[in-house]
Symmetry: C2
Amino acid sequence: MSITTPQGFSAAGVPAGLKSTGAKDVALVVNAGPRFDSASVFTANRCKANPVLWSQEVVKDGTVRAVVLNSGGANCYTGPEGFQTTHAVAEKVAEHVGIAAGDVVVCSTGLIGLVNDREQVLAGVDAAYAALSGEGGNDAAEAIMTTDSVSKQVVVEGAGWSIGGMAKGAGMLAPQLATMLVVITTDAVVPADELDVALRAATRVSFDRLDSDGCMSTNDTVTVMASGASSITPSPDDFTEALTQVCTDLAMQLLKDAEGADHEIAITTLNAATEDEAVEVGRSVARSNLFKAAIFGQDPNWGRVLASVGTTQATFDPADLDVAMNGVWVCRESTPHADPETVDLSAREVSVTIDLKSGTERATVWTNDLTHAYVHENSAYSS
Amino acid sequence: MSITTPQGFSAAGVPAGLKSTGAKDVALVVNAGPRFDSASVFTANRCKANPVLWSQEVVKDGTVRAVVLNSGGANCYTGPEGFQTTHAVAEKVAEHVGIAAGDVVVCSTGLIGLVNDREQVLAGVDAAYAALSGEGGNDAAEAIMTTDSVSKQVVVEGAGWSIGGMAKGAGMLAPQLATMLVVITTDAVVPADELDVALRAATRVSFDRLDSDGCMSTNDTVTVMASGASSITPSPDDFTEALTQVCTDLAMQLLKDAEGADHEIAITTLNAATEDEAVEVGRSVARSNLFKAAIFGQDPNWGRVLASVGTTQATFDPADLDVAMNGVWVCRESTPHADPETVDLSAREVSVTIDLKSGTERATVWTNDLTHAYVHENSAYSS
């Protein structure tokens, strides 16, 4: 049940010494075809890491034959030397597999500003190639972990075809891509242009609506490769639905493993004029440190929800907003309603519902609470 | 050295039982003239508290003769009943002073969604009126405190005229007005329209650039009243400069008293194409929980600074950014430069400098670090 479940893919994850713990830190995923369709989305951050700068060029022609990933260093803000390391890694993979370097996506994750030893990374690529296997998906998923406490994997089965996915990312989740690396494989026959449409539709309602701490990473990459090895061409709707299921499942795994969080919070905005406005409202609440700290304290502080809604440009009447927490309508028409004492916020899963009464659209944005552990882990990350 | 230092003003601060501690919680400031020019700015939050809804109408004609303030309840999201309380408070002040209710600004602060007992507040107004005095500034400044650990006051002297100010606010500071109430008095002769221009110029570079935790309040109000009692008309430049000094001093007092902060952080963006872009860049860094947690951990994590800069639309080359922390240029041309180990972040005051190399404009935005104490205080506020 991994990225090597779909036919046509082999993978590996090996320790190359980039992580001081000696854990696996280089992963390789190779598509043996017969087709090499691909699609990718990258961070919207303008300060992009070297692997993103490289990979953005690689994916332009819709063909990707391998993805190589390392943890233990983000290769970000490392200048030309760092870019050359990325390039050398792609060349090394290409040489082993017998393909062009221009068909190799490179992903890195770890501390920013750290230049990994090039020879060490390249030796890791050699070892990963030697270890490639049709059962290597788990190893690859482990090799990309950083502060993740568990590896994230999923498989969704179609009629004679399947999609596998792996992801890393914990903390630093934000809109328009969390700090995360995601590799998705499928043996369905899906031309690159259709794959691109499906991937954008799937990430729009999954990874893009995850906002753990409002920070947007420099390295985020989601790449999907389609081998066509099943010889089956699913309908675009069926494929998009399955891909959305894969992305949503991985997004929820990321959310549950966010650094130092005590609660997973689903913020649903109802009856918005447009879906974008529903997302804007949800995101504004997800970004409020006051709201997030209140949930940590199990305090159903709906005033902080309304104060966040008020910062948006969405369509609503400020005097006619309803807010529920875990299904209890603590606020109706922007005034106190049910007794907040009746809201039990002790469970990890918390739902907040905001009724804008201004249309028929809705959207859910996910975030975590703001905890002592979050502050602790993120104040000590690089030391 | 308070708001009663300028001639023509009396003030009082009394306990009315709104605060469970029995501390002072109702304040009154009255302008005896001969002039009653005024200017105000309010929160940009669309979900405004009842006192803001009232006061926005009051200030439209440029005449304000009294400001009445209470702590112990924000009177926000309390519906028509809450608005009627605000109205009744203004009427009560007007009756005592012998003026129109439409010339009375009302401010409230405290918990959202809480309806104060109307009779209790009105009794507080009676007591405050009875206690009005030319030496009442300190009492008024104390009566508006909520989680503030100290009262905030300042006086700036002109040539024969002066400006006094008081502020409350700690934590929840955000752009376009922090959660704060500010009353400023002056005995200079300044027509209302000039006062408005001066106040907007002063708040733009002071309160508006304070961003403690990115949350924008529902009650923020800054009101300035000019009595003209000195009979002196300063030049607009001199007056604006003094008013800016008052606002900046109060803003720094608010910053230093932010809930649970260990550091005051000044983020200065240099060589921006426009001042707005410099502010946008500074604000994006001030909003990054990852950056703020790093400063708490005394970690000069410049990668998190660049990652925040990259989320903006400002003009810059992502490969050519310089970052200094406490004067040490830890990053040049978007790559590591001076050893971060040489940056000492143990003192409360921290400076971060970002050189965009794209123009000649600059701006400083202030924020605090993200600490365990912040999470603690804000997870337990209403319980």
